[in-house]
Symmetry: C3
Subunit: 395 residues, 3 copies
């Protein structure tokens, strides 16, 4: 029935590859008095932000899998755990399990490859990793990608969700590449994303830290402030459903890369008003040492830099250096049911300057200075200066 | 002293192989009012029932090992962790560590290879994985197997047990193959199992869900009913010791496979009567697409099906399809000390119809419809209809 | 600029190797009445003391890494997680992450290679694994090693530390080999160690079990005494800073190996007196079957024994046998702030006799008899006899 001919005998299945990476961070905080009053005294900290190990491979020519866990947060938590069927008629690749849902260019960029220590403020409004079934594909010219999923929502850190009152959702993303020259030296990317969810147990909530997050310290130091508190937080509100849109734009011009996204999210409160939260960011990357930042035409995201010259004794190379800047904005204002006293609507602006040092293809250091400007309806404006550094090793 | 000659130089030790599998389940519940009154309202759920990774291999010609962990239940728990010495004089293979003790044909069938989503109701009365030392062997004609262990009891999910008041036990199994024709096309298997334990801390208890178990949801959804409650449950009772017998019978006749077991367990209560709990099951499997279900003559269990034609674009195969049915019964009636009000003696009958779809050797989908009939001494008869599906990927 | 020539094309990076080991222990306790009164009734126990899996390898000619986790204690905890740059000018190897800090010959001997089940009593006063950055090196003649680190202190079981009030420290070690004959048949090792820490949150404390430690039983047996209680314990005391010295001496004379260390630690209490705790041990090893215990000249520690003849059917070998003895002493007396009633200053002497059986290079059994002599200021002298055995499998 028109099936393609079988491929020649390949590797003996199943194949397995072990991979992993860790993020070791150090963070310093300088808060003004109003900020101390608004969010509390955040302690300087050191620790492993992420520490992931994965087994991945293929069990047949057309079936691949991954099982990935993060050991950094006092319990081994699920990251990506899925299997996928490739070359499925009409649909392309069909995936079952838990993975990053197709929503957001920043979200779909691997955390090993994002240009800052954390994703932008609007990351808090994305569905991100959920358990479900979905498909993704691209056109033959590779200037168009699409993806859609049906998910269970919200799933916990172990991929589970339960509840008779709903608990389902839909997520989709569509991107185009209207302009692409010289193998990606100059390009323009545009995208649109949408999701709708009816949360299990009829509860939902959104919160964000100021683009920095100290690791959890659930171990033997019970008295420390274990993590950066959310600067903006709706609290848990009784929810019928949530719908949200996002727009993406990105461009490359020589060694300058710009990426921007904006999102609107409407939450239908049970027994309350419909409320909208929104946010946006724009970020700039400039590669000082001249390496190219590749763009993946099958998934519609930027990848990462491979240095021309590794830092090693025999070469004396300096690796690759990249300067970055980002402005992020999120407005979580609204008449939230639940506990408005403890979760007042707030607005947050973040300005970040950064430098990335790629020692070799698998090792990098990142440095971020973040100026967070918070506006609380009661306390008013406050700010915090944050300096953070990261050591990343991947394999 | 009559030792066999040394084998030729083999692989460089130690060898290591990484393997794993996951079970992603989705469950729907329909309970009548009496069942809601008896066990509470069970929520429809989705999640990872198991997610296991293992490292295994050999450290010498005669010494092999495994270290296997399950990441699905909010902490990485011990599964099989042992080393074994092979070709030991008189004893065969000697194993030290934590593993599935030699009791029960259903229990000794790998959870990747059982024909239903869960083992039968009498699984709740088996010692299953415990920490100890034991041996197993078979005769040269491979129509007889035997195994015995001395264990510490009861061990927790991390292989540990403590307590000065006992904490020891014995487990044994013996199987024969009185009839075996045409390379297993037609066969008859018979077996007998026994265990005796004196539990540490002088406490024991038995409980069973209705052959379905939603994963634990210890993550960020604190309010949901996190798991299927036990339908039958003795609670924790003060216990001197426990002794239990099981009988096994199984047969193959062409592509029809039948397996049945029955168990009696006597619990000697401290300060109370001796009580007996009992159960049995019979299950049928028929392979619609004609593949054979192999029987392992060294361990006395059925293995799994490998499809003639994988589901893949180039072949257009439909994989292998198998229809299944099971009736299970367990009677946990008795005058239980401890807390009889919360753990009344109950009887449970389960009727299951299922279908298994083997996509390829490493990927399968399973579908179960379970009709659970519960008899509570106070509330009387009630029932629940359960529909469940599983996606299994192994490597 | 005088860089060495590049090495020839090597393996394709990254390389990954999976390794691991487990310790399965069984412990029996016999306490006299005074000891029962002093520390409580310790239950006989069985369990996995350690169960570790690691991924390690290189990501470049000059960059290697490890990510190692221990699954034995109800959560997967961080062991070694680091990357290191090799052949760094002046410094030698530079390491970033979490690892065993350069303090103590016993501490720097791998737990797979220590001659007893646990390290000596003064292990409790070492910084051991902390998160930081450090370097280590040796001279070209390999009769001198040095190492130093800057650490964050104290870090928890996940490598994290937080707190604005200090939280930094320095650790260093220096060893020499004044006498080394016949490839290590006869040798003399001397060493000195130092550390200074200003603990985060201004709190610190020291405690030690009697050189035996049952695994944690955080699973399904909530009522047991989950671990051996500390016999000596300062409790948590308000602390400005801690400084500590250690001296090391070790010698080989044929198949007899002697190793001894002594440590002094001064704790500057906030609002209290400066207090000193101290301890020492000396241990003897004699290899009955004649194998040599190698000494590593690059790290200044003894390694482990490889049997001449493995225990296997074809050879009939008996493996290697080693007799051991150790005397340990620790004095935790002092006027401790915090809770002196529950943490009285005590002295502990431990006398251990042991036997190690190396079945093959990767499998061993260890047997320890420990006589612990405790002196409590209120209850007076008491003692406990402990018999413990371990099965170790590594790969």
């Amino acid at each position: 029935a028109g099936f393609p001919p079988c491929p020649p005998a390949g590797p003996v299945y199943p194949t397995v590859k072990v991979s992993g990476f860790f993020h070791l961070d150090t963070d310093w905080f300088d808060q003004n008095q109003a900020n101390l009053d608004t969010v509390g005294d955040i302690q300087n900290s050191d620790g492993f932000r992420r520490a992931r190990l994965a087994a991945k491979g293929k069990v047949a020519d057309n079936v691949s899998y991954i099982m990935e866990y993060d050991f950094a947060i006092s319990q081994a938590r699920f990251v990506d755990v899925w299997l996928q069927f490739e070359e499925v008629a009409m649909l392309g690749t069909v995936r079952i399990g838990r993975w990053r849902q197709p929503f957001g260019m920043d979200e779909l960029t691997s955390v090993r490859e994002i240009p800052f220590l954390e994703r932008s403020l609007i990351f808090s409004m994305a569905p991100f990793r959920q358990t479900g079934i979905g498909f993704f594909n691209n056109n033959e010219a590779e200037d168009m990608t699409w993806a859609a999923s049906v998910i269970r929502y919200p799933s916990d850190s172990f991929g589970n969700v339960g509840g008779d009152n709903g608990g389902y959702g839909f997520v989709g993303r569509y991107t185009i590449l209207p302009f692409y020259q010289d193998d990606g030296e100059r390009l323009l990317h545009l995208g649109a994303d949408y999701y709708f969810v009816d949360p299990a147990m009829n509860e939902a909530g959104f919160a964000s830290q100021p683009e920095i997050q100290i690791v959890d310290s659930a171990g033997n130091i019970p008295t420390i402030l274990s993590s950066v508190p959310p600067f903006i937080n709706t609290g848990t509100v009784p929810t019928n459903n949530i719908s949200s849109y996002r727009l993406e734009a990105a461009a490359a011009w020589g060694r300058l890369y710009v990426q921007s996204e904006a999102q609107w999210l409407q939450l239908d409160q049970i027994g309350g008003t419909n409320e909208t939260i929104e946010g946006a960011y724009i970020q700039f990357r400039y590669v000082l040492t001249g390496e190219k930042l590749p763009y993946d035409r099958k998934t519609g995201v930027f990848k990462t830099i491979t240095p021309f010259h590794d830092v090693k004794p025999c070469y004396g190379g300096i690796g690759a250096w990249e300067a970055t800047a980002r402005w992020s904005y999120a407005d979580f204002n609204g008449a939230w049911l639940g506990n408005p006293a403890t979760h007042p609507g707030r607005q947050l602006n973040d300005l970040t300057l950064g430098m990335n040092w790629y020692v070799n293809k698998f090792t990098k250091f990142q440095f971020n200075y973040i100026h967070a400007m918070l506006n609380d309806p009661t306390i008013g404006e406050s700010n915090a200066n944050i300096f953070a550094a990261r050591c990343q090793l991947q394999f």
